[in-house]
Amino acid sequence: MTAALEIVRAGALTTVQDLGRPGHAHLGAPRSGALDEPAHRLANRLLGNPPEAATLETTLTGCTVRALRPTTAVVTGAPCPVTVDGRPAAWGTPVRLPAGAVLATGTVTHGLRGYLAFEGGVDVTPVLGSRATDLLTGLGPEPLRDGTLLHLGTPPSAPPAPASAAHWQAPPGELVLPVVYGPRADWFTAAAHRTLITGTYRVASASNRIGLRLEGPPLERAREGELPSEGMALGALQVPPEGRPVLFLADHPVTGGYPVIGVVPEEALAGAGQAPPGTAVRFWAVR
């Protein structure tokens, strides 16, 4: 089989992503998968692909891809300029690419991560049932580089279901995240509980697919020490000794010894995955 795509410019970080590899955390493998899962699903729906078809997840600066054979592509996620052979093309609408055409996505206008999907999905060898790149453990394909060649799967036989990119919620300027206290909320003082929900945090530049690191008021511990290693959930708000919480995203470590003050429900994590460094973050306690 000959390659269908050539990465001309990989941008800041472009990885292959799908719905991840749930069910392997006990072996040390994080779930991984698209950080903005609704945007990934939407891209596939717009093309008639199944939701698990792999897309390209771009970061901030987009990427440029040459179609080596005719295909159809769509860009969702963080809004950005899209061009085909240098001419403006629609964002959030399928674009037909003749062989040789070059599709480029530019720097996002807001948000952080874009999803570039192709008819049939990106076809790399699945690892533990997923094609996703996991940056924590290195499972799945390497992050894309300039010159990487990619294959595509079989195009869908049915036409795409009606869908509109308008359903995608653009990330707000301020990220407001619900948090369910526990499992280790009792490792923190009452003052820390107040600080978490009244304080304003900011997304630190060291954030990545593993976690959203937060700058802001430290959370005071009610007890010292570390926990014996315990399972870490997706969305866990883990607090290292210096007191600034880290929100665990798709490539998070599966076990850890720092206490988790609360867990952000999964449906709120797509927004976290779209928050660039500097974004203001507030938490509100939910049950």
Binding site: P22, G23, H24, A25, H26, L27, G28, A29, V127, L128, T137, L139, V180, Y181, G182, P183, R184, A185, D186, A190, H193, P228, S229, E230, G231, M232, A233, L234, G235, A236, P253, V254, T255, G256, V260, I261, G262, V263, V264, P265, E266, A285
Partner: protein
């Protein structure tokens, strides 16, 4: 406090079924998870084994992940965590029965750079470290750190050793190492602070093409077999 335990979950006295007090605590993890904490590592392993038994028997609600830890088991992806949490204290949890399951043998060359240091900490000659380590029946308590890295318990408490004061920037794949209560085998080269006592040259700890991909899955019994050194 908002983070209070979800249920009292402490049993008083043995039940008619004859099991001992579990002393388990059930802690909330988001909207669809539970962290079940047990009083000892052994109790956590027994509880994990019981979870797997019930899952195989179709007696456990659907879960996405069951992740054992040192003294806990995390359950993720439960539709109704509160329902399961309410039932857990009623469970009869049979104690672990050593020697019943097959034991995985891993050939080891006891040539690690920290063997002397471990011998000093154990206050025995290096040969005795080898003999004692190879005579121990280990069990994979949980995995983490890297895919295929198992935390193996079995060494008595007096043989627990600290991590190295300064971690190595590169520990080779197959290194057999000790830290805290655990023995581990590095599935691939990585930085690491554990005390290296040997090398498992022939064992593939992690192979995504294999099912399961990890050789050391939680609950697996392991024995290390000394390989003749030239």
């Amino acid at each position: 406090m908002t983070g209070a335990r979800m249920t009292g979950a402490r049993m008083t006295g043995a039940r008619a079924t004859g099991e001992e007090e579990h002393g388990l605590r059930v802690l909330p993890v988001g909207r669809h998870g539970l962290l079940v904490e047990l009083p000892t590592a052994e109790a956590a392993e027994a509880f994990h084994a019981e979870l797997l038994r019930r899952r195989t028997a179709g007696e456990l609600p659907a879960t996405r992940e069951i992740v054992p830890g040192a003294r806990t088991v995390l359950l993720e992806g439960l539709a109704e965590p509160a329902r399961l949490a309410a039932r857990l204290p009623e469970w009869a949890i049979p104690p672990l029965t050593p020697g019943q399951d097959a034991t995985l043998e891993i050939a080891v060359r006891y040539d690690g750079p920290d063997l002397e240091q471990v011998a000093k900490l154990w206050r025995v000659p290096p040969d005795e470290v080898v003999r004692m380590h190879a005579a121990t029946e280990f069990r994979v308590a949980f995995c983490g750190f890297a895919p295929g890295f198992g935390y193996l318990t079995g060494l008595p408490e007096e043989y627990h050793v600290p991590r190295r004061a300064s971690p190595r920037t590169r520990v080779p794949a197959g290194a057999v190492a000790l830290a805290g209560a655990y023995t581990g085998v590095y599935p691939r080269a990585s930085p690491g602070g554990w005390q290296l006592i040997g090398t498992a040259p022939h064992t593939v700890l992690w192979d995504p093409e294999r099912t399961p991909a990890a050789l050391l899955t939680p609950g697996t019994h392991v024995r290390f077999v000394p390989e003749e050194t030239r």
